[in-house]
Subunit: 219 residues, 2 copies
DNA sequence: GACATGTACGCTGTCGACACTCCAGAGGAG
DNA sequence: CTCCTCTGGAGTGTCGACAGCGTACATGTC
């Protein structure tokens, strides 16, 4: 009898796997913003029924990665400059709360260590996709370390739109936003326990990102 | 030929109507927190197919009004005290941002007027359900007046959980939270243009609500 | 040639049926 | 009496098919 512990069985439902596949296909650039996502085509491509694809698409719609167009058809979402600016202001508010809760927490040191670790992933990425993942991973980690599950939930709700925004840009333009140099000041301010500075840093970070992705201040 | 402009035809899809019906049934207390929502029963009650009910339920799940339990079954969501506290902290962050944007906006006076109007609905409600609607309507209005669609979107994403929290309480206990007296200071501070005070008022308002719904500070 | 009308096609909306999993309780072996 | 086994039933998971709606093209009329 074999001693090795048998591979874990994937108990995820078909809908969940289709969901992940579609999400990945969109955020990886396989489908471009504005592309039509037809249920029949996708169902045929993935080898599943329309109903299953349908549920996954509806989920992505609520995530903001997909938007409805005419006659109930779904397209990859694309955000206006105004929406992008608003999006990053909401992010600033949420991540500002995260910073606030981390600074107030007794586990602040552990949180700082975890964030420093997340920063490492940002350094060694020459691949654009990996760079994006590392950036979002850092900010998501920031929310998780707040210990507030609702904050994480709210941030995740925006994640699809964040990704849609980033993917709207050519890969060449964005990397400057995602360097460790832009993120370490946040961690430093948290480590110093200086709440006001930390929040100011986060807001500046988000404002710069908004300018980058929405085009410099037009409003 | 008749001159009257023909009644508007309801073009909403069956799924949308089922969604509204279920949401209303839950937030009105027709189903209690923890109740099992079986697809077959609901489909039979509503006279639609399981697939249609299913899509509506999945939507409500993402809204947080419904949660998954064992074997993929869905139940009316119920939040822990910790989650409730976190929820209201996130609300404070979001509505704080709303206040901030309104104060900074040139249309501040119009916003104040709109908020004052919303306050009126709070006054004349002896019906508990109407009172809740008026309260949530005020806060939602606050977000809308920020002019930031993403902020509204994020707030709406929490709305289901907020309602689930309120509905967890007996109707008799809550009304004190929803008096005009508790809301007008927010509007007054906005009208005065005093940002710091306004945000402090919002945070105090949310902290009090958290204590009320989660039980006084145990953490 | 321009406009109204008919018509085929593509797509989503909705449905009913079958498959599968899990839990609870009956029933037998020890 | 206790434990294991088996068998129903209650649910959800997934599927294929039909129906309805709109668009775009073809057809006919003036």
């Amino acid at each position: 009898m074999s001693v090795e512990p048998l591979p874990n069985i994937d108990r995820s439902t078909l809908r969940e796997r289709v969901l992940r596949a579609l999400r990945s296909a969109i955020t990886s650039g396989r489908y471009r913003p504005g592309d039509h996502l037809g249920e029949v085509d996708l169902a045929a491509s993935l080898g599943v029924s329309r109903g299953t694809v349908r549920e996954a698409l509806r989920h992505l719609q609520q995530e903001g990665l997909v938007m409805a167009s005419t006659r109930g058809m779904l397209r990859v979402n694309t955000l206006s400059a105004t929406e992008i600016r608003g999006l990053f202001r909401v992010r600033a508010a949420l991540e500002g709360l995260a910073v606030r809760e981390i600074v107030a927490s007794p586990r602040r040191d552990a949180a700082v260590a975890a964030l420093r670790e997340s920063l490492l992933s940002l350094r060694d990425g020459d691949d654009f996709g990996a760079q994006v993942e590392a950036d979002l991973g850092f900010h998501m980690r920031l929310c998780e370390l707040s210990g507030n599950p609702m904050l994480v939930e709210s941030w995740r709700h925006l994640e699809g739109r964040i990704r849609a925004t980033i993917m709207n840009r050519e890969p060449d333009e964005a990397p400057a936003m995602m360097t460790p140099a832009r993120h370490s000041p946040i961690v430093d301010a948290i480590a110093a326990g200086d709440l006001d500075t930390a929040i100011a840093v986060v807001e500046e970070h988000m404002a710069a990102a908004a300018d980058h992705f929405a085009g410099p201040a037009e409003s």
